[in-house]
């Protein structure tokens, strides 16, 4: 089982669209794929038309009062399941804080379904928190969407330091540019000048396209409703770069 986390400290950078589209592509290739929506805003859950409700909420999951198998939902796509978010996830930090090995609990929970899935995506909330620390320990690859802007790069520096300072096993960090607009000089310059010393930066750039925004309207991954669109092709290229 290979675990990818779509993560950034900043919000609104394309984490959920990345997790949803790449999870769909992974499943389309035949890999048994799970997407765990960890964000209490439940955007990924909404995109898959699943109700944002987990029996017993974050507390029951984190304390293992309910096995995560009971919360899993099939999406409308073959090989792709979802562990939906629930508004109680806003308290997940507190729930984790009460457990033993509090920075490794999410990884332990995922291990209970390791036989059922080949690939797992974690759609993470934008923060530095106990949930984030758990994600670092659970993930093999941290996928970091970056908007090509100076402040984004500064946040990326913070994130790579956060990963470097974390104890134990660290995920591979793969950044990529998201919501890029090549008509903007600043975007072009940032993409051209980013330092590749700190972390791997994917060659693929995901452009800012309205079809990606339509995901919320059509409630489906881009390659499902617009398979030959530029956006779908970009996500396919990105998946080809990072897939197992």
């Amino acid at each position: 089982m290979r675990v990818y986390a779509s993560y950034n400290i900043k919000g609104g950078v394309g984490k959920t669209t990345t997790a949803v589209n790449l999870a769909y592509l992974s499943a389309r290739e035949g890999a048994r794929t799970l997407l765990w929506d960890l964000d209490p805003q439940a955007a990924a859950t909404f995109l898959f038309r699943v109700r944002p409700r987990v029996k017993g909420g974050s507390h029951a999951l984190v304390t293992r009062k309910r096995p995560i198998e009971e919360a899993l939902k099939a999406t409308d796509f073959e090989n792709l399941d979802l562990l939906p978010a629930d508004f109680s996830y806003r308290n997940m930090d507190l729930d984790l804080d009460d457990t033993k090995k509090r920075t490794r609990r999410l990884g332990q929970l995922l291990a209970t379904v390791a036989d059922d899935y080949d690939v797992v995506f974690l759609d993470c909330p934008p923060s530095v928190s106990l949930v984030s620390e758990n994600v670092l320990h659970a993930a093999d690859v941290l996928l970091v969407p970056l908007i090509p802007a100076t402040l984004s790069l500064r946040t990326f520096d913070q994130l790579t330091r956060f990963v470097a300072d974390s104890e134990g096993r660290r995920p591979e960090v793969v950044a990529f540019f998201s919501m890029a607009d090549r008509r903007k000089r600043l975007h072009r310059e940032v993409i051209a000048t980013i330092s590749r010393d700190q972390a791997r930066v994917a060659v693929t750039v995901i452009p800012a396209l309205s079809i990606i925004e339509q995901m919320a309207e059509l409630r489906a991954p881009v390659p499902a409703f617009a398979p030959s669109s530029v956006a779908a092709q970009c996500y396919e290229q990105l998946w080809a770069e990072v897939r197992p």
Partner: protein, 502 residues
């Protein structure tokens, strides 16, 4: 936990009324009906049904637009799907696209090829059942044969989705109310009647004819796959049946007519010899990955020319094998063997001097066991390789006698005796295989040098010879312990009791 998909049949196995199904479900769900697609469905398995035995179902489904492989797990829920194009059967699992389906399948099919076991064109229609959010909560698959003569009736399959079991249950209830009834999959399993139990007091030729007929059936069943070179196991299983035939003829001599010795023993020796060269080369090819792991100084890539040499040799030897199996001599052998077995079984027990099956079993097992004990006891650390080879042959005779007479001796004691013997056979097998492989590697190396191969390949093969030398020494050292276990009082008593001397 998701419940298994349930297949339902129309009353009297008749046609399905889609409109009635949609109408009945519309009260609970938003029903979205897909267009009908003609799907060519090929069910796949290995020749020896490894997938079926593991509870797996593999289908190659081809429509006008796409092809895909579907693997359904033993729980009838876990389904792996992978898109495929340009696949032809038979094929080894290694020929399938990389991914979860291949990863799940390959350990089960192993070195056996996947073959089409049944094929049918079906008209398939998907129906999706949505909740008020537009989320699919269950699927139906309506599946009808294109051919009116199909043995498999039209069916509706409720495909539950993880986390939405209640929707699937409700769907099944609604369909049952329409008169649809659950289908049973039992009918698709081979319905093979159990073989008649042999009798100890039956004439021995009757028992021998029965087991020889089984071996003939095994040869005939494996012949097409062997001729088409589907996978290496067809030849292996064919050879096992020939070897067992030869051993049975030899062991059964006291109860068999002279013709068996004068005509049929040489005939099956010819057949065995015909198949040996290709099998030997198969073994080297199959063992190459393991042999690569023995290398210390050389690299696995250095064995590339050796692999190529094996392939060339195999191609040539296979031509000779196929020629032999398509010859008039082989055709006549099979054609005459069947009536010979019928004659053999047609023994008049009244006033007959032939031994009974029980008498022959006792005599043969006692004799072959004595020989193993005698020859094994004479082996010393200085014994030449031929003595160990000869002992290995004695052990095989004992093993075959336990198998041939399995129907007329105590089952539990026989099983334990085979286990006792297996430990000794394993050690002798390691010794003899190392001996044969060392000599063969030298011969191959000489041929390759003549053909102008690279020094690197020959040096790597030298390392393999060195490893085999060490392995043979280790097997020789292990022999006394294995033989000691075989002749310990409990094993000896067991084998003596099987031979009627307990």
């Amino acid at each position: 936990m998701t419940s298994p998909s349930a297949a339902l049949l129309a009353p009297d196995d008749g046609a399905l009324d889609l409109a009635a199904v949609v109408k009945a479900l519309s009260g609970s769900f938003a029903v979205v009906t897909g267009g009908a697609q003609v799907v060519r469905q090929a069910r796949l398995d290995t020749f020896d049904h490894r997938l079926r035995d593991a509870g797996l179902v593999l289908e190659h489904q081809v429509t006008a637009a796409e092809g895909r492989l579907v693997l359904i797990g033993p729980d009838a829920v876990t389904t792996r799907v992978t898109p495929v194009a340009g696949l032809s059967w038979p094929a080894l699992a290694g020929a399938l696209p990389e991914g979860a389906l291949r990863d799940a399948l390959a350990p089960v099919s192993g070195i056996r090829a996947l073959m089409v076991t049944s094929e049918e064109r079906r008209r398939v229609r998907r129906v999706e059942l949505h909740d008020q959010d537009g989320k699919t909560v269950a699927r139906l698959q309506l599946d009808e044969p294109v051919a009116k003569t199909s043995a498999v009736p039209a069916e509706v399959r409720v495909l539950p989705l993880r986390g939405y079991d209640e929707a699937a249950r409700r769907t099944s209830t609604i369909l049952a109310a329409l008169g649809l009834r659950p289908a049973s999959d039992d009918a698709v399993l081979d319905d093979v009647p159990p073989p008649a139990s042999p009798d100890r007091i039956a004439p021995a030729p009757v028992l021998l004819a029965g087991v020889l007929r089984e071996f003939l059936s095994a040869m005939q069943a494996n012949l097409p796959g062997l001729l088409d070179d589907v996978d290496t196991e067809f030849l292996h299983d064919f050879r096992v049946a020939v070897r067992r035939t030869r051993s049975t003829l030899k062991l059964g001599r006291p109860a068999l007519p002279d013709e068996m010795r004068s005509r049929w023993e040489p005939a099956f020796k010819w057949l065995g010899d015909l198949t040996t060269p290709v099998r030997d080369l198969d073994v080297y090819e199959l063992d190459l990955p393991v042999m690569s792991g023995w290398l210390v100084a050389a690299e696995p890539a250095d064995l590339g020319p050796f692999a190529a040499h094996l392939r060339r040799r195999r191609t040539a030897e296979r031509r000779a094998l196929v020629r032999g199996l398509r010859s008039a001599r082989f055709t006549r052998l099979v054609a005459d063997w069947e009536p010979a077995l019928t004659d053999l079984a047609d023994v008049d027990a009244e006033g007959s001097t032939v031994p009974t099956a029980g008498e022959l079993a006792d005599r043969i097992i006692t004799r072959t066991f004595r020989r193993v004990a005698r020859d094994g006891g004479a082996i010393t650390p200085d014994s030449p390789a031929e003595d160990l080879h000869s002992l290995r042959k004695r052990c095989k005779e004992l093993r075959y006698s336990l198998e041939v007479f399995s129907g007329v001796i105590d089952k539990a004691a026989r099983k334990q005796a085979v286990t006792d013997l297996k430990g000794l056979q394993d050690v002798l097998g390691r010794f003899q295989d190392s001996e044969v492989q060392r000599h063969a590697l030298r011969k191959f190396a000489e041929e390759m040098v003549t053909d102008g191969t690279s020094a690197g390949a020959v040096l790597a093969m030298g390392e393999l010879v060195g490893h085999l030398d060490g392995e043979q020494d280790r097997a020789h050292q292990d022999f006394q312990r294995a033989f000691g276990r075989f002749v310990r009082p409990s094993s000896t008593a067991r084998l003596q009791s099987l031979g009627g001397r307990g």
